[in-house]
């Protein structure tokens, strides 16, 4: 324990820039997300403390850190699965205080989950259509009595769903039951469902988990393509360093709920605090 508390103290003293690095293309635009001194406390435990981040309009940002560092908790705070106990979150300049998960999604944050959460008993196409739920509307009455608006909107939804599925070449799986898909396809479907809600910020929780190196490379390309096509920002949690270092323009490193480093891939790779957090301290140093 002594060793641990020593590490926390040390890492706390490492100087880090309070401003995030905004990639060139977004410098003169309003950032999509600003977190200011964000924190949550469970009893006496500060799971996340003093978390600051700014994400550019079309940035791909990475959130990394050892197991238990609080990465997923940050996602849960951003999407209001947990209400933060301190600090605030601005989405497109709008304060999200007091909102719930549903409102946050409507405002523009979509996410995937570390342990896949699909609607397992529905078809692949229906899963995507659920994502389109708030953008293409008709009411219950029109649905039950199959009025013209029902057919029109269902057709639009079907076309849009197929278009989204084709991003990952999953069109031929549209009729499958989501729970019966192979693992990798389930992860991709989750990303498509999140994209269908028309977000301005996409949160991906370990998108490459369980994928082989080839699939990971393919996923990297797709993530970049999604950013370019949809012009959205992406924040991802990932343990696969090849992926993180390959596509993330800004990287934020968490350890024990605190940010220990921020910067570009090269800066992070050479940061002693990060190396220490992942590998431990060298003896006699």
């Amino acid at each position: 324990m002594a060793y641990q508390s020593d590490k926390i103290k040390k890492s706390h003293m490492v100087p880090f820039p309070t401003q995030s690095i905004i990639p060139e293309q977004d410098v003169d635009k309003h950032p999509v997300l600003e977190c200011h001194r964000l924190g949550i406390q469970f009893g006496g435990l500060k799971a996340v403390d003093d978390f600051n981040i700014i994400i550019g309009k079309t940035e791909i940002a990475g959130l990394i850190g050892p197991n238990g560092a609080g990465k997923t908790t940050v996602f849960n705070l951003l999407t209001k699965v947990y209400q933060p106990t301190s600090g605030n979150i601005l989405l497109n300049g709008k304060d999200t205080a007091g909102m719930n998960t549903t409102q946050i999604n409507k405002l523009g944050i979509a996410r995937t989950f570390q342990n896949i959460r699909l609607f397992n008993n529905l078809t692949v196409e229906d899963n995507v259509k659920i994502g389109l739920h708030n953008t293409m509307k008709y009411n219950t009455f029109e649905g039950v009595f199959r009025l013209p608006n029902y057919w029109k909107k269902e057709k639009e939804m079907h076309e849009k769903a197929m278009e989204l599925l084709s991003i990952f070449n999953m069109k031929n799986l549209a009729g499958w039951q989501a729970g019966a898909l192979p693992y990798g396809a389930q992860r991709r479907l989750e990303i498509i469902r999140a994209l269908a809600t028309n977000p301005s910020l996409l949160l991906l929780d370990e998108p490459a988990a369980g994928m082989n190196p080839n699939e990971t490379i393919e996923l990297m390309e797709t993530i970049s393509r999604i950013r370019d096509e949809f012009k959205i920002a992406i924040l991802l949690i990932e343990h696969d360093m090849q992926l993180v270092m390959g596509i993330c323009e800004g990287i934020c490193v968490l350890n024990f709920g605190k940010v220990i480093a921020k910067g570009t891939a090269e800066e992070i790779q050479n940061n002693p605090a990060v190396i220490e957090a992942y590998l431990g301290k060298q003896k006699g140093e």
Binding site: T79, V81, N100, T101, T102, N105, K106, A110, R111, F113, R117, L118, F119, N120, N121, L122, T123, E125, D126, N127, K129, I130, G131, H133, N134, K137, Y138, N139, T140, E142, G143, V144, F145, R146, Y150, K153, E154, M157, A174, G175, W176, Q177, A180, R193, A194, T197
Partner: protein
């Protein structure tokens, strides 16, 4: 596991075909072949099928356990009886009157569902089961306290909470007619339910439920059932969609109640007790959660069987219990299912092969 869209759509038409075929067969048989006892079962069977379809919407599609659907039937039954009796002069046509009674009864049951849903559907967990269980008992006691009559001045209602009041406390004119007499329930009701009405109700309810499930709203409800957290993160308003499904379910159960209430000249509130709720739940569970055709078949068999077994009066519940156990084993045993569904599966593979060419 391959489910093709076309096969799903085809699946939706099978319940209609089965119900229509059963109706035609039974209509032919009712001209002399069926005895009085069997004829008397036709309308109640329709009622229980509709009630079971309603509960299937709540338990199978919404994924919330309700132990008080008999309570909604009860609301529907007594509101329906009051409506029918008080309109008997103004609407002499029994078919139209039944239709009006069904609509009003369903609306009141839906209102009851809405009032229960406001506090309960916000919560996670089995609270709905507990509250609906209580609701079923409360509504039974309320109706037991109710004395209702009608005369040319309109409806007269008193709450006989102390147990000392009688029909005379309604202060009706001489032409007045009592509809509900407290613990004796509704007496002297004109029986206007018919098998044709029951058949039409099943078809309409099938239409509503199947279209509901395949619409945007139904999809949202099933998404919430499958994964609440993911549904929230995808921007679905959980409480709203749970409420829509639950109120629809309560309303349909109320409609079933109206048909049931107007099938007997007298009916008591204790008919719709906890046992009836559980009976409907048994139909749904044995028919398969979310399985519409299964619900219809299970309800028919399990409702008609005990009545048919009356000849063996002493052993009837014993046989009923054995049938329940056999059905449970059969529906959960892979080998038996494969054996029964052999033909169906072969047809499914065929349709999938066709669908795969697209």
């Amino acid at each position: 596991m391959l489910t093709n869209k076309n096969s799903l759509r085809r699946k939706g038409t099978i319940p209609y075909i089965v119900v229509i075929a059963a109706f035609i067969v039974l209509s032919v048989l009712s001209n002399g072949v069926l005895g009085r006892a069997q004829m008397a079962l036709l309308v109640p069977t329709c009622c229980y099928i509709v009630a079971a379809l309603a509960l299937n919407l709540c338990v199978g599609v919404l994924g919330e356990l309700s132990l008080g659907h008999a309570g909604f039937m009860s609301v529907g039954a007594f509101v329906g009886v009051i409506t029918s009796e008080s309109l008997s002069a103004s609407i002499p046509n029994t078919g139209v009157r039944l239709f009006v009674a069904v609509i009003i009864g369903a609306l009141f049951a839906a209102l009851a569902g809405f009032l229960i849903g406001i506090p309960v559907l916000r919560l996670r967990g089995d609270y709905l089961a507990i509250v609906t269980l209580a609701f079923g008992e409360i509504i039974k006691d309320i109706i037991t306290c109710l004395i209702v009559g009608v005369d040319e001045n309109g409806l007269h209602i008193v709450f006989n909470v102390t147990g000392t009041m009688g029909v005379e406390d309604l202060h009706m004119t001489e032409s007045g007619k009592t509809i509900i007499q407290g613990a004796q329930g509704a007496v002297g009701t004109e029986t206007i339910s018919t098998f044709v009405a029951g058949f039409i109700m099943i078809i309409v309810v099938l239409f509503i439920i199947q279209n509901f499930i395949n619409s945007r709203t139904g999809r949202a409800v099933m998404a919430i059932r499958d994964d609440r957290i993911a549904a929230e993160a995808t921007g679905l308003n959980i409480t709203k969609y749970k409420m829509i499904a639950f109120v629809l379910s309560a309303g349909i159960a109320g409609a079933a109640g109206v048909l049931y209430g107007l099938n007997y000249s007298s009916i008591v509130a204790s008919k719709f007790n906890f046992n009836t709720s559980i009976l409907i739940l048994v139909f749904v569970v044995l028919g398969g959660l979310g399985n519409i055709l299964g619900t219809i078949i299970a309800t028919t068999i399990l409702y008609v069987l005990p009545e048919m077994l009356r000849a063996f009066s002493d052993y009837r519940m014993l046989v009923y219990a054995i049938v329940l156990i056999v059905v449970m084993i059969a529906t959960n045993n892979k080998k038996i299912r494969q054996f029964i569904g052999g033909l169906l599966i072969r047809r499914k593979i065929k349709t999938n092969a066709e669908g795969g060419d697209e």
